[in-house]
Amino acid sequence: MGTDDRRRRAILVSVASLGFTAIVAQMVALREFLHLFAGNELGIGLILANWLLLTGIGSLLGRRTHRWRSPVRWILAGEVLLAVLPLAQLVGVRLLRGAWPPGTMAGAGEMLWRSLLLLLPFCLVSGFLLALFSGQASSRREADQIGDVYVLDSAGGILGGAVFAFVLVPVLPPVSIAALLLFLNLGTAIWLSWSVGERGWGWSAAALLVAGAGILAAIDLERMTARAMFPGAALLYAESTPYGHLAVTERAGEIAVYENGLPIGSTADPVAAEEAVHYALALHPDPRRVLLVSGGLVGAIAEIAKHPVESIDYVELDPAVLAIAARVHSSASDPRVHPIAADARRFIRTVRASYDAILVTLPDPSSAQLNRYYTVEFFAAAKRALREGGVLGLRLTGAENYADPAVRLLAASVHRSLATVFARVLVVPGGEMHIVAADRPLTYEIAAALERRGIETSFVRREYLAAKLTADRIEAGKEMVAGAAPANRDLRPVCYLVHLRYWLRRFGGNLLVPLLYAGGLVILIGALLAAAPRRAVPAALATSGCAGMGLEVVLLIAFQIHHGSLHREIATIITAFLLGTALGAGWGGRPSRRPARVLFGADVLLAGLALVLGGLASAAGAGGDPLAAAVVPPWLFAGANGLVGFLVGAQFPPAARLCFTKVEDTAGSLWAFDLLGAALGAIAVSVLCIPLLGVAGTCFLAGGIKTASTLLLAARRAAWSRAASPSPAAPFLGPSLAFGIALLVFAGIGVAIVAEDSSAAIYGFSFRPAYHWLLVLLLGLGLVQAVGGRLLPERGGAVVSAVRRAFDALHRTTRLRAYQWACYSAFALVGFYPVFRCYFTVPYLFCHVCPRQCVFGYLRPYLVPAALLMNLERRFWCHRACPIGTLGIAQGRVCRRSRRWPAAVQILSIAILIFTAVSYFEIRSDYAVQPDVEGDWYTFFYTNVFAASATVIAVAAGVVLLTLRWRRTFCEALCPIGRFSELVLAGDGRLARRRERRVRRRPSRLREARET
């Protein structure tokens, strides 16, 4: 066997190992992060999107590696990092949990940043290696090896997903799984270093391996880190099950059980247990057979057993919870109790008319998984499972004294869903709201019924209920659920978005976080597309990544509705997707295929598949509950997901062939498109699309996006056959990205100012003294530069030259200077604030009479003179510091064929300048004399509300649009500062020219004199 063969084999094994490691590390990280973040769709979406985004950026960074001399050493270094980082990441998350104020949860912004920082090292390295491997997979350096690496990576992923789900999770705790990754990657690194003759690396990796094994054998890292998460309590038991991390702790004799860091039950919470049981059971005259959905850990079984029941069926999804419940609560060993480990949704569908009461004791509908227990379809299934006159009891977050609008909406939606199925719905108001539904009359005579039955309780009894069920509180509860709200349906799940809004209000953040995140991804993808050769191809990949992720989420939700949240089956469906991508890439990468045709065909089929799924979903949603009637077999979901994966995967190798320039370059950018598209899908689909558009709407959206990409491909296909190979890629992070970022900042600030829930926070921020000092500092630096000074000394040490190099690189790639970026990011808030909220119909002009200045008005007395001073020499403010100017300049760099405004328009700005000067004094005198007189300047321009004005925003949008054609529209046509400075400079220039002429004439006269 030749050296080349050995080397190639080792590299290929490394690729598969990377795929394996990435998937397993992702699953481990996702599960660990749930200790820090709520397990709602936003938390999961953010972690997943961050993961994909960072990996995509990593692969982008790997594009330039073809210039490197010894890439194998970088691969070895990367593998060593890949080995260590999953473990470090895991320990980092757990220590962070322990270091937080006990018992608190992260808000949306914290979730975003913390997960971004914690995931950064591993994801960047793994993405980087993807690009690096593509160049090393063979010595041929052809497009095909990009496809080969894709196939191998997917194959590693399949193995990783399957082994993780079926072998690792049920058997090993998380730290051991991360340790396994450590050994796997160090092993691969050793093999690779031997195969390529880098013995030194091999020995180092081996030493690290031995050291790691020694350390892990010596200390129980799992237990140490698990303990660190529960300071103040004794950790009795911890277990990682396929469904989450369970921990049992003890404090002063009280046992508490946690799932993913949140308490789900304790031995001493009789109030919760009694409320979960007795309201519903008291309202049934003779409950014999009871179904308890979760709630065993709360202690509900002992309470049910107080009633004369014959059997208690107790369903938990996770068998480990059943086991813990049996150990924590002695009542679970009652012979009447039948523990059932199953998905309750699935279980209930199989039962007909056999229970007198069904008690659902689950958390609020905070995720798609939990939402399944609060839908019309679930309630209908529960009704079928109930005997004549049976009751259904469930809990929701309620209101002790005052109901938040989001809580009202949630309660109203669930109530409406119940009311479409059951004839009577009774609400027991309180901090925990309990709802009982039945087809029999329900009354508030709960205490009396319990007394008749002779049931001893500590809280649910006359003495407490008298205070809980006062006339005014019952009335408030009824009013709370009476509001208009849409019913919650399986395929149109509205509750979890409502709950997310409530959660965000409670823990901080708002829905802008996912919106802006998605917007940022769209811009990043757009900017990369603008710089890419044969844009239609990477556009197809990015949209496939997005649509593929969206369809996968849709299929998983549909499966859970249908068959339950079953660990193995869901793992199978996800693995099917990966298998599909590997097979698809293998099929699409065959040399005999015509790349453009494969790409186009897969695109058409993916669009068609999305539309068909959308049609099926809307047909399913239109009927009452056809899903229950016609059971779709589980393999069909796996098959559909595999097909989606196949179509996504099949596009990758032909795309590589169509866009091929250099191996690492093409591989890095194509991976980035695929991953960034998937990140967009991860954040947008589960958080926004499904709650807002429904399952069918999401499918149609994916189909629409894919159709658009198909049309684009069709339009461009003909041109590719004429030109044999594409032109090389434009520079990375081109001006389009700069403009995209600038526009995102502009829009983001606008949305944040206009949106009610964030406007106060951003307003408060804009008045922070530290922020103002930063602005003053930047103005000072600007003045120094305006007189020709330099920010960095001409000559200097290594630090100065390194900083200068970094600044130069930033300038080269984005064509905006570092100072410009600094000013833009700092002054954007000041400069754009009046556009989005102003007391006047014309922003910027009347701050001196504003009753409620924004930050621009507050700083205007310093800002405007400073800007005019800076402009005195060469309009330094306009070209370097002004945020509006920078936005216009960045836009001008992107747009081709942009031109200057004709001179006639410049007259407009002179008129505006005059108007500004006149109105400044006019409005002040009007304000001073009598503010309320009709018809004066003040009342004309004053809107009397600090609000967004549609006209102003429309004008701003118009200016941005006009700038596509004419350079710096605002600066040239509207800005008084710009025009004033221009006039000063023009006058100055004329003076200078006159003097120059005089000077020129003078020496000639001298010369004449000398000559004569």
Binding site: T104, L262, R506, Y763
Partner: protein, 392 residues
Amino acid sequence: MSARRRGIDRRRFVKQAVIGGGGVLLGAYTVDELLRNRAGGELRVGFRNDAPAQLWEWSREAQWYEAAGHGLVRCVLCPHDCILGENDRGFCRVRVVKEGRLHSIVYGNPCAVHVDPMEKKPLHHFLPGSSILSIATAGCNLRCLNCQNWEISQSRPEETDNQDLRPEVLVQAALQHGLPAIAYTYSEPIVFYEYVRDAAALACEKGLRNVLVTAGYIAEAPLRALCRVTDAANVDLKGFTDGFYKRVTTSTLRPVLRALEVMREEGVWIEVTRLIVPDYSDDLDDIREMCRWLVGALGADTPLHLSRFHPAYKLIGLPPTPAATLESAYAVAREAGLLYVYVGNLPGHPSQNTACPGCGRTVVERVGYFVPSVSIDDGRCACGEPISGVWS
């Protein structure tokens, strides 16, 4: 050639001198202004420029504020001492400056109105067994991580659903329903001070009692004024270290202790509630120290309610307080000399009855919020031992 360069140089020199000199002057002016604003502005703890466009129609000028120079006002109602400019909103979210005057924007505008048992406040030595009309407005001057009413306490009044309920109407409603007292509770009565003041004065005239359920974070002078119309108060003493108060509530301990002393001096009937949060305020030494202070400053007959924590607001990752911790705290409090200690939020606990400190007989029997029997005659047990409290 040299002359030409000299000419341009002169021009450039003049321009640069203008820019440089102007820049220095402007910089000095700006820095001076910002520093001066800072002198009056950095102390501001409220929300800048956050006042609603219009005042609520019954908004009242605040009673406790003073001018602070530079067109600013200083709210002296609570120890936060907010310094506010035109259109600013105080830290409590319910006081705004309009036209140079501080206004309360929750006057006559509660968002929660209920009839509760007296025992739910909790007040155990004040008209046992009666019901009490309870009201709250939006806003609070604290930021407790475990707030049970965060939907109102951490909201602006514009964000909550409010009712029109002027003091006259409120008092009329209490009289109509035959309720003996009005409680200002749920969020924080200190922040709707003017409303409490007027309603309580009117209620006093009509023979009704007034109850404050408060965290006691208030300045001395306003409190003394309010005490004249207040009959009883339940004060949350959430911890007994400054560190705890800062970390969990964004306030400090000393003013709360001072408020308790002032209420005592003014003759208000005081009951103290201590919520025991695992990992935050479950230290027995801390509880012992607090109880000793209570005995010394307020008297051994001050009822103390040791209350059980349930996950709320931002603290959702903690389990309820273990019953054993509450038991130990109970023992510590009794040991410190307090005569009336109750364990709250723990249904069925034996300490819910009031025992006579003299003979040990049960003088007030309680089951939940029910009071089956009160055997106190003229403030005394049958054995002749006086039982402190307001019994009729």
